[in-house]
């Protein structure tokens, strides 16, 4: 049923989609195109409208206005051609807790019309790669959080969809299972499956081909992770000092310091322009104030810092004009 021979190169083409819940614009005029085969990450605070956007794209929620084409088919007027091509994992566990692992897989395979001759081999393969083989006969409600999510993913994959919508799939999942989960997603990416994933975790966003930042129903930033970091004006310097809390106001007072954040027991300082000169300025200021400085070293910009720096400007711009922010830079 998965037809990968069609010529549509854009997996998802979102056209001015809006969803209003009782006068609140949960999704506000979002336009977005996602190429086939990409792992696309959607980040943003709780209540930004990520789930609402995903639910509209997955055909379970009707847009108030606008439309989206999934492999060229409208989610509004032609959902029957969209559904067979997609898989959707909602934020909450949404399989049947009182059915066993195997029964859940069989159930969704039957509903999605997986040919009977393929069912056994597919579910065997999915159980193996999600590590659930030994839990086949266990009721889903008695699985751990991480296993539940892997089962949900397996159930979504049983029909071999071309496009996966994952809404915060690893929220509440332990770090080991999270890593495994992303190992599976990387595998899907290699198979050419398009993945649209909402995540609150920056390390997960970093593994996507492209990320978009959503807030108050709008997408205000979109870039590759490295592009996002590259847009940060200035450089990051890592400072290790004996009493970092007391050191923060001292650093903030310096003219070359743009912003800073705490990372473990160190400070990550964003400095404008000339990092080398600034390095010594920082060291001198701290020693002068009586701190013991362990080290001051240049470091990489991370996504967290990139968002902290870029969002205030982007949010301000999006009020006036959307176009230049949504445009993907070369």
């Amino acid at each position: 049923m998965a037809d990968r021979t069609d010529s549509v190169e854009t997996a998802i083409d979102v056209r001015a989609i809006t969803r209003v819940f009782r006068n609140v614009k949960a999704v506000d005029d979002v336009t977005l195109a996602i190429p086939r085969g990409e792992v696309f990450g959607l980040v943003g605070p709780d209540g930004a409208g990520k789930s609402t956007l995903i639910r509209m794209l997955a055909t379970v929620l009707a847009p108030t206005s606008g439309d989206a084409l999934v492999f060229g088919h409208s989610v509004l007027t032609d959902p029957h051609h969209v559904k067979p091509r997609i898989g959707y994992m909602s934020q909450a566990f949404s399989l049947y807790g009182d059915l066993t692992v195997q029964e859940n897989l069989d159930f969704f395979a039957e509903l999605r019309g997986v040919p009977h001759r393929d069912m056994a081999s597919r579910s065997k393969r999915l159980l193996e790669f999600s590590g659930l083989t030994e839990f086949r006969t266990r009721q889903a409600q008695f699985l751990s959080g991480g296993m539940k999510q892997k089962l949900a993913l397996a159930a979504t994959l049983i029909s071999e969809p071309d496009l996966l919508f994952l809404d915060e799939p690893t929220t509440g999942v332990d770090p080991v299972s999270r890593r495994e989960f992303w190992r599976i997603i990387s595998g899907l990416h290699r198979d050419g499956i398009t993945v649209f994933v909402a995540t609150p975790y920056m390390d997960e966003a970093d593994r996507c081909d492209e990320i978009a930042f959503m807030t108050q129903g709008r997408i205000i930033l979109r870039d590759t992770p490295s592009g996002m970091k590259g847009r940060v004006p200035g450089r990051v310097i890592e400072v290790a000092v004996n009493d970092y809390r007391a050191a923060m106001p001292v650093l903030r007072a310096l003219p070359c310091v743009h912003s800073l954040e705490v990372s473990g027991d160190m400070l990550r300082v964003l400095v404008s322009k000339d990092a080398d000169a600034c390095e010594s300025t920082l060291r001198d200021a701290l020693t002068g104030a009586g701190f013991t400085v362990r080290h001051v070293t240049p470091s990489q910009t991370d996504l967290e810092m990139a968002f902290a720096t870029l969002i205030p400007t982007a949010a301000k711009n999006s009020d006036t004009s959307d176009a230049d922010i949504l445009a993907v830079p070369e």
């Binding site: 639910r55 997955a58 055909t59 379970v60 929620l61 009707a62 029957h80 559904k83 067979p84 997609i86 898989g87 959707y88 909602s90 909450a92 566990f93 949404s94 399989l95 049947y96 807790g97 009182d98 059915l99 029964e103 159930f107 969704f108 039957e110 509903l111 999605r112 019309g113 009721q139």
Partner: protein, 373 residues
């Protein structure tokens, strides 16, 4: 529509029911429990009423009067006051709900073939009991009167009433005979509308409904996948109720299984429609439960299920026409007790069909629109 999907949904529903420890007893023990409760408690006949006897005559005739009351089985002598004051105390204190006073001179009056007097006093604080007691008492006295004076010589009167009542169809007036047929309809209403709306709302609550809507199933698939299992369960429940009613409670069945079954199936459409509407109005199972209860109350009260509707005030009586349970009750009761045929019952069938199909279609039309929101 796809039979493969419907079959899968039905299979899933039965696996879930079989693993639900709360659901299984409810589905199969509830009908029996209801039958026993309604059959023995609500539907119990008024028997062994406590009787106070003030016999100031003490003749052969006065003893025969008391014997006539006790041997009927409806009355048991619980007090023998010796004065009017004591008699009043017995009634006030609840030792007796019915009292008879036999003034001096009854025996002489019977010998002289002239009118004798017996006083019957009934505690009216429970209107149902007192109504039945009054009926029994006047029946017994009328009977005695015939014995004392011969037929036609009804010179003894109780409260001025000398009724000759003949009850058709249910001559012993066993309440269970009208209760069991009604329960068939009521259980059907409960298990289809309640249980099905619970099952749908549960899916929404757990998020599985949303997951289903990403699969290619249509609303016809989904609905049939829900309707068929609960229809099948309802049929099993009906069979249990029917058999227990006929075999254990000895309720006569004089009608046709086809007319009864057909009527019940038609009524089920209404029940399913109500279930769908409830499931649309509710976000959580608790809400669904409360909504069902809210809808059930007027249905029980205004359909004639427990209380007669003929005496209702006019505006309330008009409302009863809007309740499909009303029509099916007439159909099943008439079928059980009178052996009525479809020809006699067609107005009820017509009204019920109109409502059932209307409610079902309304539920259906609202179903897909709001399901996933």
């Amino acid at each position: 529509m796809s039979w493969r999907r419907i079959r899968t949904l039905i299979w899933k529903e039965f696996v879930q029911i079989s693993r639900d420890r709360a659901m299984l007893p409810i589905l199969f023990i509830m009908p029996i429990l209801q039958l026993v409760l309604f059959g023995y408690v609500v539907g119990s006949d008024v028997r062994n009423l406590n009787l106070a006897v003030l016999d100031q005559d003490n003749t052969v005739q006065s003893v025969r009067v008391v014997d006539a009351f006790t041997s009927s089985g409806y009355f048991t002598v619980s007090a023998r006051p010796t004065s009017d004051a004591q008699l009043k105390d017995a009634l006030d204190g609840g030792q007796a709900v019915v009292a008879i006073t036999i003034p001096k001179g009854l025996g002489d009056a019977v010998h002289a073939k002239c009118a004798g007097q017996i006083g019957v006093i009934i505690d009216g604080s429970d209107s149902r009991t007192s109504g039945v007691a009054a009926g029994y008492a006047s029946g017994i006295i009328a009977n005695l009167s015939n014995q004392f004076y011969g037929a036609g010589g009804a010179a003894m009167t109780a409260g001025g009433v000398n009724a000759q009542v003949r009850v058709l169809y249910n001559p012993t007036m066993r309440a269970v005979n009208t209760m069991v047929p009604a329960l068939l309809a009521f259980i059907l209403l409960m298990s289809t509308s309640n249980v099905m709306s619970q099952a749908i709302v549960k899916e929404r609550e757990k998020g599985t409904l949303e997951q289903l809507f990403v699969t290619p199933i249509g609303r016809a698939d989904y609905l049939l996948g829900k309707l068929l299992p609960y229809t099948l369960i309802a049929v099993v429940q009906l069979t249990i109720t029917f058999l227990v009613g006929v075999l254990w409670f000895q309720v006569p069945f004089r009608g046709s299984l086809l007319v009864t079954g057909g009527g019940l199936m038609l009524f089920m459409l209404a029940a399913l429609g109500i279930g769908m509407i409830v499931s649309l109005m509710s976000r959580t199972r608790q809400q669904a439960q409360q909504t069902s209860m809210f809808l059930q109350m007027p249905q029980m009260m205004l359909s004639g299920f427990m209380f007669p509707i003929d005496a209702l005030p006019k505006w309330l009586y008009i409302l009863t026409f809007l309740i499909p349970l009303r029509y099916i009750l007439v159909i099943v009761r008439a079928n059980f007790l009178k052996g009525s045929t479809f020809v006699e019952l067609w107005p009820q069938f017509a009204m019920m069909a109109a409502f059932s199909i209307g409610i079902f279609l309304f539920g259906l039309s609202r179903f897909s629109k709001r399901l996933a929101d």
